[in-house]
């Protein structure tokens, strides 16, 4: 066993353990935090396999954005501290499904590669770029299009009704819109100037 193998094993155990903890944890925020560990372990695996770019993408997108969104959502709901009762009884079904999926993938991978040891090589970023934007350009664009559609849909759904929106940020016309106050007559005492209607600036 080389050093790489040992590290690989450690990362795999860490990732697997935290993945299990994600599903068995009774506290949603803890589950999300275990998910962070699981995702970072996946990134570590990618790194050990030489897919540097993929690893950092994993961190940037999943840890930096997806988890933050999940936590953000949890905090907007009540985000209770301490354990919570499970709110559904589909755990057995979920367990069966995931075991089936795992088995299916495992068989598939074994079928594809068997016992052959692949040489460990660092994938250059340029190669990834070429594959994405040259060989698979069309599917990539279709995917991008779908995501954009989803984004637009989300904006439409979230958009407020007309007039309900908040005030514009830097309102240029605000000065001219200011109403002039009704003149107040207080200059009854002699020797007193009547107060101006404008603030001297």
């Amino acid at each position: 066993m080389t050093v790489i193998d040992v590290v690989m094993l450690a990362v795999a155990v860490l990732g697997g353990a935290s993945a299990i903890l994600v599903v068995v944890s009774r506290n949603v925020v803890h589950a999300a935090l275990y998910l962070v560990v699981a995702l970072i372990s996946v990134a570590g695996t990618f790194l050990l396999l030489g897919a540097e770019f993929l690893a950092w993408t994993q961190v940037l997108v999943y840890v930096g954005a997806v988890i933050v969104l999940i936590l953000f959502g949890l905090m907007l709901t009540r985000a209770p501290l301490g354990p919570m009762p499970q709110d559904n009884d589909h755990t057995r079904l979920a367990a069966a499904l995931s075991v089936a999926l795992f088995g299916f993938l495992a068989v598939l991978i074994m079928q594809a590669f068997g016992d052959t040891a692949l040489p460990l090589s660092v994938t250059p970023t340029a190669a990834i770029g070429e594959i994405l934007y040259v060989h698979w350009a069309f599917p990539f664009m279709v995917l991008g299009f779908f995501l954009t559609v989803a984004l637009v849909g989300a904006i439409v759904l979230a958009r407020r009704e007309e007039g309900e929106g908040p005030e514009p940020l830097f309102d240029a016309e605000m000065d001219s819109e200011r109403p002039t106050p009704a003149p107040t007559d207080v200059s009854t005492t002699p020797g007193v100037t009547s107060p101006s209607q404008e603030i001297r600036t």
Binding site: F170, A172, D175, T201
Partner: protein, 254 residues
């Protein structure tokens, strides 16, 4: 409101903070540099023990009863043979609890015998609230730090005592000058000239910028006086000397 370019306000603010940064700071480095407090500063209450007659006015007028006075009566033997023996009050204890005091100054105002004074001294904080009750020895010691009251603003009516004193002096001067005029028949003009400044010198107040007489200050420090006392005395010495000098100058000028 004049039309401004958008975002120019942000730049104006930045310019101001940068300008301030390049100017010297206004912070006073307190323990290293002592503040120059005006003479009226209500720092601490000092007691002129000798003047106190234990009339208890201060203790009664104090809004939060922070003045403690104990006394006993003493019989003074009669001065003259056959006269009745007199009693007088002797001050045993005069303490002010500065933890309670709200520095209103009513005690000083009501004191009919000028026994209480404000002093700008302020460095008497303690670690324990109990130590803030200061006894008469300490209060008497603070008398050394009481500065002379400031001169009043132009147009102010002088206090009764000073006004009376001035009037008396003027009267004396006039009498003297009259005497001189009467006596020196031979040279009346010269005598009048001599009397003129004497009469005005009393009225004329000589204003002197207060400074410290360094020599006196050093000497007092060497004698083991506290810094504040030394400074106050050195200031007084300077003012005296300076006023004497100006007076001499004016006289020699005439």
């Amino acid at each position: 409101m004049p039309a401004t370019l958008p975002q120019i306000g942000l730049l104006k603010g930045l310019a101001l903070t940068l300008k301030t940064m390049l100017k010297p700071a206004t912070t006073a480095q307190y323990p290293h540099v002592k503040p120059a407090l005006p003479p009226r500063s209500r720092g601490v209450i000092a007691l002129m023990e000798e003047n106190c007659t234990v009339c208890m006015l201060c203790a009664r007028e104090c809004p939060d009863w922070c003045i403690y006075i104990d006394s006993h009566k003493e019989v003074v033997p009669p001065k003259d043979e056959g006269a009745r023996a007199r009693t007088r009050n002797v001050l045993d204890r005069f303490a002010i609890d500065f933890a309670l005091c709200m520095y209103c100054g009513i005690c000083i105002e009501v004191c009919p015998f000028d026994a209480l004074f404000w002093s700008p001294e302020f460095e008497y904080s303690t670690y324990s609230i109990r130590e803030l009750t200061h006894e008469k020895e300490q209060l008497r010691a603070w008398m050394d730090t009481v500065p002379a009251p400031p001169e009043l603003e132009v147009g102010a009516e002088l206090p009764k005592e000073i006004a009376d004193g001035l009037a008396a002096a003027r009267k004396a001067a006039e009498q003297a000058s009259a005497a001189v005029t009467a006596a020196a028949d031979a040279a009346p003009a010269a005598a009048k000239e001599g009397a003129g400044p004497t009469a005005t010198a009393v009225e004329e107040d000589i204003h002197v910028e207060v400074q410290i007489d360094q020599a006196v200050f050093d000497q007092l420090i060497a004698e083991g006086k506290t810094e504040r006392v030394a400074r106050a005395k050195a200031k007084a010495a300077y003012v005296r000397a300076e006023k004497a000098r100006i007076r001499a100058e004016r006289e020699s000028g005439q």
